[in-house]
């Protein structure tokens, strides 16, 4: 096994599971639709809340996607094989996260213009929202992968993952929504975006290692 063949196989599996990705997307759209439908559909209500709604829905969709990331690999023994492959486990995990990130976030970004229109997100906020998603979601994935790795060997671990990682998600969500809101009312938001990037970098450095340790603990 090489890093490249691992990545190829990952992508293939993701492709075979495209319906899951599609479902995550549907879920995302439905959560977002819930607000105008269930609460209030007036622009005055939606416009200021739009970024927050989109981010909450994105967080949930990402959680669903990340949570089961290692489950199948654990069951069929592929995870064991990764551990004994002699390749760097953190790097393998990073590759896996990257693949997953592409598959989940890209479609999300693509339908974003639609959704932001539906929620009356002002133009001024749109590009900042896209930026926050680009810069912020990597940390969501990187944090999530730690939780997923810790719970592979546990049945019904999905919930546990979320318990473990949602507290760590809060700063990301807060910085992101603050940035969009700041942009909407014309305040500077560059600092907040920088904070988001810093968080992503921080977790880029530490989370593969933590996840690798967790995976090793789980496969025995």
């Amino acid at each position: 096994m090489t890093y490249y063949s691992f990545l190829t196989a990952e992508c293939l599996v993701l492709w075979r599971r495209k319906q899951d990705v599609f479902n995550a997307l549907m879920f995302f759209v439905i959560v977002i639709a819930l607000f105008p439908i269930g609460i209030n559909s007036s622009p005055e209500f939606l416009a200021p809340a739009a970024a927050g709604i989109i981010w909450c829905a994105a967080v949930l969709a990402i959680l669903m996607a990340v949570e089961g990331m290692f489950k199948e690999d654990y069951r069929d023994g592929s995870l064991e094989q990764l551990v004994v492959s002699g390749l760097s486990l953190p790097l393998l995990i990073l590759l896996k996260v990257a693949a997953q990130w592409f598959v989940v976030v890209l479609p999300l970004l693509i339908i974003m213009p639609l959704l932001s229109e539906m929620l009356y997100l002002p133009r001024s906020g749109f590009w900042v929202l896209m930026m926050t998603l680009l810069l912020g979601t990597p940390s969501l994935f990187l944090i999530g992968v730690m939780g997923a790795a810790l719970t592979v060997s546990l049945r019904q671990g999905a919930v546990l993952v979320m318990l473990l990682i949602l507290p760590l998600y809060l700063p990301v969500i807060i910085f992101a929504t603050l940035a969009v809101q700041a942009a909407q009312i014309g305040l500077p938001y560059a600092g907040l975006l920088a904070m988001l990037s810093a968080l992503s970098l921080l977790f880029l450095v530490i989370s593969p290692f933590i996840a690798a340790i967790a995976v090793k603990a789980s496969v025995n």
Binding site: M1, V13, R16, D76, G77, G86, N220
Partner: protein, 204 residues
């Protein structure tokens, strides 16, 4: 494939749950040898293989591979070994061919085809593995024996759910491997093996 590799295990002690396994176990393995781990159900055969493969850590003991002490860090051993456990490590959602390509990305198509033909999987190379029978799934995992360039093979009941032809094929492959100087540790509840081997008995 490393020439004249060797594995030496001494004073082992594995703990699983609250059971002590393999207490005081010691054996060595030279190039070209096969060790069959023998023991009742629950004696600790699988646990022993996992310890050697680096999936579990022993409580005590020493594992020396080709002169290097790998007890604490099994990574050099892992570079050079092939482990197939009870769960065989093939992905249900990939096809037979993709599963093998995952482990051996640069393998030539003709080589792959010949291995699949040898295993009797040629007309199912595009089937998703989850639709295969138990024995066929095992064969997909065993395809790695044909393709591997690793020295140390750790096989946990490799013949399980194989039919007679399948067993003969796998045995032939193991024979080839030890002829070319490989090391094999395997567990099996099968009596007759067609190659010469040494037994290591685990008491439970």
């Amino acid at each position: 494939m490393q020439p004249s590799a060797s594995l030496a295990i001494s004073d082992l002690w594995i703990e699983r749950g609250d059971r002590d396994l393999c207490k005081g176990l010691a054996f060595t393995l030279q190039a070209g040898e096969v060790v069959r781990i023998l023991g009742e159900n629950g004696a600790g055969k699988s646990s022993l293989l996992k310890v050697i493969a680096g999936i579990l850590s022993p409580l005590e003991g020493k594992i020396v591979y080709s002169g290097e002490d790998v007890t604490l860090d099994r990574s050099t051993l892992q570079q050079d070994s092939l482990y197939i456990g009870h769960s065989v490590g093939v992905k249900g959602l990939l096809t037979v061919e993709e599963n093998i390509r995952c482990y051996y990305p640069s393998i030539a198509a003709s080589r792959l085809a010949s291995v699949l033909a040898a295993l009797g999987l040629d007309d199912q190379s595009d089937a998703l593995v989850k639709t295969l029978s138990a024995g066929q799934m095992r064969r997909v995992a065993l395809a790695r024996l044909w393709l591997s360039d690793k020295t140390l093979w750790l096989l946990d009941e490799p013949f399980a759910s194989l039919d007679a032809t399948g067993v003969a094929l796998a045995e032939e492959q193991i024979k080839q491997h030890i002829l070319s100087g490989g090391l094999v540790i395997l567990t099996t509840h099968q009596d007759v093996l067609s190659f010469s081997y040494r037994d290591v008995v685990l008491l439970s």
